[in-house]
Amino acid sequence: MVTPDLSVRLGSLRLRNPVLTASGTFGYGLEFLPFLSLEEIGGIVVKGLSPKPRKGNPPERIVETPSGMLNAIGLQNVGVDAFLAEKLPELRRHDTAVVANVFGETIPEYVEVCAKLDAAEGIAAIELNVSCPNVEAGGMAFGADAASLARVTRACRDATRLPLWVKLSPNVTDIRETARAAEAEGADAVSLVNTYVGMVVDVERRRPVLANGCGGLSGPAIRPLAVWATWQVSRAVAIPVVGMGGIASGRDAVEFLLAGASAVQVGTASFVHPDASVRIAREIGSWLAGHGLASVREIVGTLRTGKEERR
């Protein structure tokens, strides 16, 4: 059996394999060194970076749900400066693509972080988080309609020459519209999905479990929704799509690849099994080998619905 070629291209960016880790679920990468080697995955997406450090929301911040979890972390992070000074030099010692997830409350804040990242050494791409449901300002407000998403994308596009990914919110009527807006304003790729807004009630206290009230749903529960969103978007735009949502096995990842994702991100699964991303990359390899396929690129977007003729 030949070893399949797992490398993929997202525009100008080449990844060793199609598995990245999702923002907010992999810290700054270094926390995972006891469990895996960063050289075995395609890359990592670091926790959302804002211009200044953010304290985040008060606890409770997480709650388990059937096959999923809600989180309302509120983008606690060290800020872009500390990331560049303290984390990135460490990360650069590992041969993996580092994608910086960026968050701002205003467009100038997004631009500020992008410009700082642009000036740094060792960032593979920027992912704009315009879809965080857990902060009052910014976040999902930008991702909820095509016009504001277009504005923030354009402003960031003008602030960096790094590959620019826009991470889409699934909490919309038609995700293809925001995807097209990102593409039109110069995004190099779109990634999806961020979390779905939900709430769990503590019936004894008659309050939401989360101090923030609502939170974002992630994990296997959302996988069928995320596969559908990936399929919709991959047919609506020509730029590469990075798919995620509840991926916990190589088979799950293959669903997204077939549905049109050129790469995938693993989120919540890394909490349950810290080495999940590496295992998933290996399982994709075995699946391809078992099907006699030479390259993962052969399967991207090859899903057929049987309705092609009708359309």
Binding site: T25, E60, R61, I62, E64, S270, V272, H273
Partner: protein
């Protein structure tokens, strides 16, 4: 360094009142875990997604007759995960990630007496702790409070091993009727070179911390928090803490900066 291990249940004892003592063989954990640290335990095939955090209760030597690679966990059935765990028989597979977090400070200084304050299942970390302190020649007194007599797991073990055990129950079914903070106040009034190490529900810990502060007695508490990862990356388990004297608060992770924290650091 934490590891993610696949293990089998070696023994599983129902202690009554919903409390169970679980034993697994896991040499690396037996070697490297310190009292107060914890494990994230996963139940393959169960309808729970996330693992559950449990303190180390026993290390080799804590309980008679266990092997040199045995670690014990004492847990109480409170929800779906623990209910499922209780139904698992010896031989069943578990995944266990650990050791995690910051344990109790064992360097108490000669002559210091350790007051272990436990609320119900909060006694879970104390067997391993009492054994370690005993081995260091530190005198331990256990103040053990609970709702009722059936909520005092391992009481016999403590009675056999700790020099002094003071029991309170809310319903008076064992020991003195009242809260564990009553004998604590009395004991502190007697003075001496003492230090408090407490574990139990957060409201109890808050009260214990207040009493310690008033008496100017050093106090460590082992906190509970909902956890997704247990190793510092989800930022789900934070508590507000005070940094420096200024009193500026931040959120720190119970799973990395805790679960054992100096009480004065907390900004509850």
């Amino acid at each position: 360094m934490p590891r993610d291990l696949s293990v089998e249940i070696a023994s599983h004892r129902d202690l009554g009142g919903g409390n169970h003592l679980l034993e697994v063989e896991a040499a690396p954990l037996a070697r490297e875990t310190a009292p107060g640290q914890f494990f994230m335990i996963g139940f393959p095939g169960a309808d729970t997604l996330l693992r559950r955090p449990f303190s180390v209760c026993g290390l080799p030597g804590t309980f008679d007759g266990s092997s040199r690679s045995a670690v014990h966990v004492l847990y109480k059935v409170v929800g779906r995960g623990t209910e499922h765990l209780a139904s698992r028989k010896p031989g069943s597979p578990l995944s266990i990630l650990g050791p995690l977090g910051r344990g109790f400070d064992l360097e108490l200084g000669a002559g210091t007496e350790a007051l272990l304050v436990a609320g119900g299942i909060g006694s879970a970390p104390f067997p391993a702790l009492a054994a370690a302190l005993g081995a260091r020649g530190i005198r331990c007194t256990l103040l053990y409070g609970a709702r009722s007599a059936s909520d005092l797991p391992l009481l016999d073990w403590f009675r056999a091993r700790a020099p002094e055990v003071i029991v309170t129950t809310e319903d008076g079914s064992a020991g003195t009727r009242g809260l564990v903070t009553d004998p604590l106040r009395e004991r502190l009034a007697r003075g001496g070179n003492v230090r408090i190490l407490a574990c139990g529900p957060n409201p109890m810990l808050r009260e214990v911390a207040a009493i310690a502060r008033e008496a100017s007695v050093p106090c460590e508490v082992s906190l509970e928090a909902r956890m997704a990862c247990g190793f510092g990356v989800c930022l789900g388990c934070v508590v507000p803490t005070r940094r420096g004297e200024g009193g500026e608060t931040a959120y720190e992770r119970v799973c990395v900066e805790g679960p054992v924290m100096p009480a004065e650091k907390l900004a509850w």
